[in-house]
Amino acid sequence: MLNKRIIPKLLIKFLDYGTKSIPSCVTTVNFNKINLVGDPISQGKIYESQLADEIVLLNFERITIKKNQNYFNFLKEFASTIFLPLSAGGGISSLEDIEMHLKNGADKIIINTITGKNINFITEAAKNFGKQCIVVAIDTKFSKDKYDVYIDRGKKNLNIDPISWGKKVQDYGAGEILLTDIDKDGTKSGLNINVGKLLSETLEIPVILSGGCGIAEHFIDGFKRTSIQGISAGTFFSHRDQNFFEARSQMLNNDIKIR
């Protein structure tokens, strides 16, 4: 049987040191406050040795990707050093962007803002690169009395609830969903079980839940109480090396099937 997936998330920001611009790994709180973690390639190698199932790599800068050779050089180096499945995204808005990511080592592509602007893009992308390659990131936030879906790194409200939006992107050809609760991001206060449960039980494609993991029990919660296939976390894994093993051993003790 298929194993549940533990997926470290690396946010990549280029920081200037003297004349050089160096790819660095950062974490965020509520998509806003930035904490510097360190070198993404050594971090990725650590995750591989800790038995991570997959890696999510997000280009935090989101600047016009086409001309961003610096980023693609980094992506290529990352993908050829770490023998794990790699989902990459951040600022992707054309088929050409996707092609560049795939050619430089990504296995799956994460799209968000473009889906809110032109939902047909999902269909186009799935047709060209295969459905299994297209991951739609759904970022959600609670406002007044309901959950809304946001694009543009949490700035623009699409005024639709995550469940209806999930069904819609599934119909348009998404192969997987990466669901993130913006209010939970980086807070270590636990995953959004309710939305995760509803979405994973509604959709036919795999759902990955993210945002809020602070202790190992949050992983148990996520897997025991919902039908999600994986949990992605940034802050939890990058701030303490032993967190990964703690999460794994507790999952195994709770009969959650992992590799």
């Binding site: 023998f83 430089n104 296995d107």
Partner: protein
């Protein structure tokens, strides 16, 4: 020994070539049919769609040289994911497309094999090894490998099936017929065991 990795410009061959280098071998990227004329081992990593790959193979002189190398010269071939699926007679993805036909069988959607779980089948799943095979040397039964697909090969002669995997239904996860090997999972993305499998293929 010349190891070639076929690159039809439809997917990333970087991971697989790095994986080969990691095991201590050198490899070349084959972009044109003539590039594999002298190859001793051929790896075909396939991502994308069955019709797109077959179209590319048909456009150029790939079919002829592949038949020469694999069927006539009996050079070792490893097909990964789609690279395995195209070995069969036909694929039903989008519209029925003819495959290479080296192994009798067809490609079907897991959904049509009454798989009730979310598709694509994405993640780490275990191999139940059906037959001892050199490609599994030093790899334990039920080891985990990374899968990412909705389609599987089916109706294959039992003697060629070397492992299957369960995702609601049992499906064929690797095959071997003479010099031809095929795996549904991605060894190049499967960390230690994956690297071992590549190494096993290269030392056949």
């Amino acid at each position: 020994m010349k190891i070639s990795i076929i690159d039809l410009d439809l997917c990333n061959v970087n991971s697989i070539s790095k994986c080969v280098e990691y095991t201590g071998f050198n490899c070349e990227i084959a972009k044109y049919p003539t590039d594999i004329e002298k190859s001793d081992k051929i790896i075909f990593p396939g991502i994308g769609s069955y019709p797109a790959i077959m179209k590319k193979l048909n456009e150029n002189k790939w079919l002829k040289i592949l038949e020469q190398k694999i069927i006539k010269e009996k050079k070792n071939y490893l097909g990964i994911c789609l690279g395995m699926q195209i070995l069969t007679n036909e694929g039903e993805e989008f519209n029925n497309t003819r495959g290479l036909g080296y192994i009798d069988g067809k490609v079907e959607n897991l959904k049509d094999l009454s798989c009730k779980f979310p598709l694509p089948h994405t993640g780490w799943n275990s191999l139940s090894i059906k037959k001892e095979n050199l490609i599994f040397k030093s790899i334990k039964n039920l080891s985990n490998f990374y899968f990412n697909h909705s389609f599987v090969i089916n109706s294959i002669d039992k003697q060629y099936i070397i492992s299957d995997t369960n995702y609601g239904v049992d499906f064929i996860s690797s095959i071997n017929k003479d010099n031809i090997y095929g795996v549904q999972f991605h060894p190049e993305k499967s960390s230690t065991e994956g690297i071992q499998l590549i190494k096993n293929f290269l030392t056949l």
